[in-house]
Symmetry: C3
Subunit: 140 residues, 3 copies
């Protein structure tokens, strides 16, 4: 069993890959089989496993969530009450409810058992720059 924390600097909504950081942690502590759990310590950012090939996939994902949950300035969101922290705050909480805050990935022979096209991403939902913290936990 091993634990570590990583930080990711964000500059606006979108997907920020951390597969390399997670792989490096796993390599440094595991040689056999195990389970990596990633946990984001925030309520306006989340985690995703998504396609790591075409950047348009990440762009389309971001657009879909912005259309599903528009900013508080949008007339479609006039029912929002939690608006004191800015028009992007409550939509960020909603997007974080629709996507995972914890992800568990098996480790096989000391390596993450990700599929060919899978990458690990932090999904930032706020407009302003943030430093996001992710806890990595390896269990056997």
């Amino acid at each position: 069993m091993a634990q570590s924390r990583i930080e990711i600097s964000t500059s606006g909504p979108g997907l920020y890959e951390f597969t390399d950081k997670a792989s490096a942690f796993v390599r440094s502590v595991a040689s056999g089989d195990g389970l990596l759990t990633c946990f984001v310590r925030h309520t306006s950012a989340s985690l995703l496993i998504q396609e790591n090939a075409d950047p348009d996939v990440r762009r389309d994902l971001d657009v879909f969530f912005r259309r599903l949950v528009p900013d508080g300035n949008d007339p479609a969101m006039s029912w929002l009450r939690h608006t004191a922290e800015g028009p992007d705050d409550m939509p960020a909480h909603i997007k974080a409810a629709l996507t995972p805050v914890s992800l568990s990935v098996p480790v096989t022979g000391g390596r993450l058992a990700l599929g060919t096209w899978q990458g690990l991403y932090l999904f930032e939902h706020r407009l302003a720059a943030h430093t996001r913290e992710i806890v990595l936990h390896l269990s056997s």
Copy 2:
């Protein structure tokens, strides 16, 4: 490794916090690092980690999901077939598919590694009162 089950009484849709119960379980069985997994044994309720400060956040989350998945009485949901258990049943299953049934939170030094504003919630989707069961599993 340790396991326990807790029950939460609900009285209609919304978020019911159980951070204290989960923390008490962790304190009673762990002094070092580990991983707490919470699992809800139902298909019309789910789990969320969300902001524990402003109650309007929970209210807005509940409203968002009711707007995204209206009750079966709503003309927008006339395509539903599973209606025998009431107009709130199938929408409850859908909301439970859009939000987690299992959550894993690292434990560091005997304490849940939650962020400052994170609380653990049961998300009830049915109108009638229910008793919901959550399994808590601590692994090392």
Copy 3:
């Protein structure tokens, strides 16, 4: 600790149950308490725990997600950019972002601690036939 991989053949969108395969794996390796984590190695399919009684629940879930995320041919999705792999590809990634790729279920006394009505499902989002791989990891 034990690990295994299973394959599921799909023939179009919808829910494919694998509770029996997961239970058989757990029975073959566990007699006491533990935690089963299921992980799907794809970005256009996901996992769900849902009602295993009325098939209309699975049909209604599938319809809801198709209405929320229509195929790329639908005028409502004209903003999509990642279209080279077919009109069902980017919507499949979006549905896989809205639903889990990993699920953790406690094992109690050698058996999955599922609720009475809970079944484990692969949620296929692509139109063409696929073979999907799920990693099963049992930790104690």
